[in-house]
């Protein structure tokens, strides 16, 4: 990879924990893994959990601690979703890497166990065929190779693979843990973050530390060293609460023209519609004066709209449809259209 200028190196990389014991908040995982490290004997592993909780960090840290910088290159193969990972890659690249046997000579202080590690990041985006092909590879080369699978959704890993691995669940980070980390980075980078901004940051990043750090860096670049909570909102692309609230209240009002106007306003402001739908969802979920049935009606439409948006449908029309449905649900208008059969 091309060398990066110091300033343009993402803070996510810069502040990535280098050792397993530094990984924030995943105590249980860390305890088991440190044990593993001491004996230098590790099974295949499967890390799963929401994004930004330290899965990749942990995997990299283990690899580094096992081999040290010198052997790292030759012993560890990293593949993530941006690489082509069709069945052919599994058949050739992974197999070729796995097939070469390695010795046990020690380098420096590192344990250097006699096997290699293949880290498959974002494994849930692999095709089923590729996963099936992997299964044989894992068995054949289990003496010389360990696989680390990293994924968000364990359900997308086929059962035969999952059953061959030791599974570790990564919990979403709590606010305190995240705030600690953010505060640490702030002090290291010389940033001034007031408490309000800090809490905004943890709420908009929703337990995803990587996202929080990325936002922080973006805000720091745009607005300099003293960062306000509005700056963070701007950078994150999160839609200000007022906008969502305004849309909701027009829906509540039962006046179609108002809703239409508000929808065109949202579009003109350039807010991404998928984002506003998900924030509207968050808003409505938490409301007490909306009945479950009403909620269900609204959310059903939201789901459909989201799918349509992914298919490339027009944002304005979809949002208008969601708003109209929400309005009909909230004002208890009939569910079915009169002319439908």
């Amino acid at each position: 990879m091309a060398p990066l200028l110091q300033s343009s190196q993402p803070w996510v990389e810069k502040y990535r924990p280098r050792q397993v014991k530094d990984v924030a908040h995943q105590d249980e995982v860390v305890r088991v893994l440190t044990n593993t490290l001491e004996t230098a004997n590790c099974p295949h592993m499967l890390f799963y959990g929401p994004p930004g909780t330290g899965k990749t960090t942990t995997a990299l840290a283990i690899a580094h601690e096992l081999y040290g910088p010198e052997l790292y290159k030759s012993r560890v193969l990293e593949l993530n979703a941006s690489d082509d990972r069709g069945i052919n890659v599994v058949r050739t690249k992974i197999k070729n890497f796995a097939a070469v046997a390695v010795g046990t000579q020690r380098h420096g202080n590192y344990p250097c166990p006699p096997y290699k590690i293949i880290i498959l990041d974002e494994a849930d985006s692999m095709t089923e065929d590729a996963q099936n092909a992997l299964r044989r590879t894992m068995e054949t080369y289990s003496k010389v190779t360990r696989f680390f699978f990293i994924c968000n959704y364990i359900s997308r890993i086929i059962e035969p693979l999952a059953s061959r691995c030791a599974k570790f669940r990564f919990k979403p980070l709590t606010d305190e843990i995240m705030n600690d980390r953010i505060a640490y980075i702030c002090s290291a980078e010389g940033l001034d973050l007031d408490p309000e901004a800090l809490s905004t940051l943890s709420s908009i990043s929703q337990g995803d530390l990587r996202r929080a750090i990325t936002y922080l860096q973006g805000a720091a670049r745009l607005f300099g060293s003293s960062i306000l909570s509005t700056d963070l909102v701007t950078v994150s692309g999160v839609i200000p609460e007022e906008v969502v609230q305004a849309l909701y209240s027009t829906c509540k009002s039962g006046n179609f023209e108002l809703a239409e106007k508000e929808v065109s306003n949202v579009i003109a402001e350039g807010y991404p519609v998928s984002q506003i739908i998900s924030q509207l969802f968050d808003l409505i979920v938490g409301l007490d004066d909306v009945s479950d049935e009403q909620k269900a009606r609204i959310f059903k439409k939201m789901g459909e709209a989201d799918k349509c948006l992914i298919d490339g449908a027009d944002e304005y029309l979809q949002l208008l449809d969601v708003a109209s449905n929400a309005m009909r649900a909230l004002c208890n208008m009939p569910l079915e259209f009169p002319s439908e059969f």
Partner: protein
């Protein structure tokens, strides 16, 4: 030269709308390093203007010396080589292109161009290797694969080039790409801001603006600054001195859609549907994008409708627009929408008036 181009602000200091964004951008590039950027916002909000001003801020006036090239790319795509043709706009410091023009092959284009740019990096006076900027328009229209490959190339060549992406809706850009860029939202200017700009142009041109005239244009512009300036200029051509009740010319296709809408309201029958089809064909063969036709038609129809029907009409518009994206032949879906509308409206008329 059109006023839109004539009065396009050339530098970040001179912009009238989005001053805050401009100042932030200025701060950003003054630090000698600029992350990848993603500009998003509705059309006519000023994204391209800001991007050009930003480039000028970074590299000076030389970015304005652009040449247009119709380049042929030979791309090695595994088993075969592809021949792709694409128009690029380039100066010594930047290249601008619409990768989605390449259609299915868009992913190869992106990779190939970035690779080539990385190869011949400009060297600045101190002998340090500088970087080039690649401006990609309409990223939201890129295929998923192309966006995916974009993400990898962004990492791989981040030392040699910076990307400025430009799109209308950021939700059609994958999270992976978005998270690697600094996202800059450019909202459509408010009507008051548009009025400011129009008055500024009016002053520069030495025109007498009756009060409220600019506001009327702004109101009709649907918050698109480009649209407003264009219709301002057409007004000027049409009639000057301006009078307060002067008609602001609509785009011809909009007039045509209005006609279609009133046709639909007048009669609901298969025969009328057939006539409407002919008119829609007319619009389509003039390359008006089908989704824009549908949206405009909905807009016109909603204006004339009782509010109880609006929900349903809206629903079907959204439904058929989605269908249109999935399908190939827009006319099928537009027609289905019109037919549905006719059927709803006729039912409504019968139930109200018997």
């Amino acid at each position: 030269m059109l006023w839109v181009d004539k009065y396009r602000p050339r530098s970040l200091d001179k912009v009238i709308v989005h001053q805050d964004v401009a100042q932030n951008l200025k701060k950003l590039v003054s630090e000698q390093d600029c992350p990848h950027l993603l500009f998003y916002g509705p059309s006519g909000a000023g994204k391209k203007t800001l991007i050009m001003a930003l480039l000028r801020q970074m590299f000076g006036a030389s970015v304005e010396k652009v040449k247009v090239e119709n380049k042929n790319w030979k791309v090695d795509a595994g088993s075969r080589t592809l021949d792709l043709e694409l128009t690029t706009l380039s100066s010594t410091h930047h290249v601008e292109l619409n990768p989605s023009d390449a259609g299915f092959q868009d992913r190869y284009i992106v990779q190939e161009i970035i690779k080539e740019m990385a190869k011949n990096r400009p060297i600045d006076t101190k002998g340090k290797k500088g970087f080039k900027v690649l401006v990609l328009n309409e990223v939201d229209k890129l295929s998923r694969e192309a966006q995916h490959s974009l993400r990898r190339t962004m990492e791989k060549y981040s030392a040699s080039c910076r990307l400025i992406l430009c799109c209308n809706s950021s939700s059609k850009v994958t999270e992976a790409v978005r998270s690697r860029c600094l996202n800059v939202r450019i909202n459509a200017p408010k009507e008051e801001e548009i009025v400011d700009v129009l008055e500024f142009i009016g002053r520069k041109e030495g025109l007498q603006l009756p009060s409220g005239f600019a506001a009327r244009i702004a109101e009709k512009s649907n918050r698109s600054l480009r649209r407003a300036i264009l219709s301002f200029e057409t007004c000027r051509v049409q009639q000057y001195p301006f009078t307060n009740n002067q008609l602001i010319p609509a785009m011809d296709w909009e007039v045509y859609v209005l006609e279609i809408a009133s046709d639909i309201m007048k009669e609901q029958s298969p025969k009328r549907l057939f006539q409407v089809r002919g008119k829609v064909y007319e619009l389509l063969s003039n390359c008006i994008p089908p989704e824009i036709i549908l949206k405009r038609l909905l807009f016109e129809l909603l204006k004339k409708l009782d509010s109880e029907l609006k929900h349903e009409v809206c629903h079907w518009a959204a439904y058929y627009e989605h269908r249109m994206r999935l399908g190939q032949k827009a006319i099928f879906h537009i027609e289905a929408f019109v037919a549905k509308f006719m059927s709803i409206y006729k039912g409504f008329l019968i139930s109200t008036f018997g």
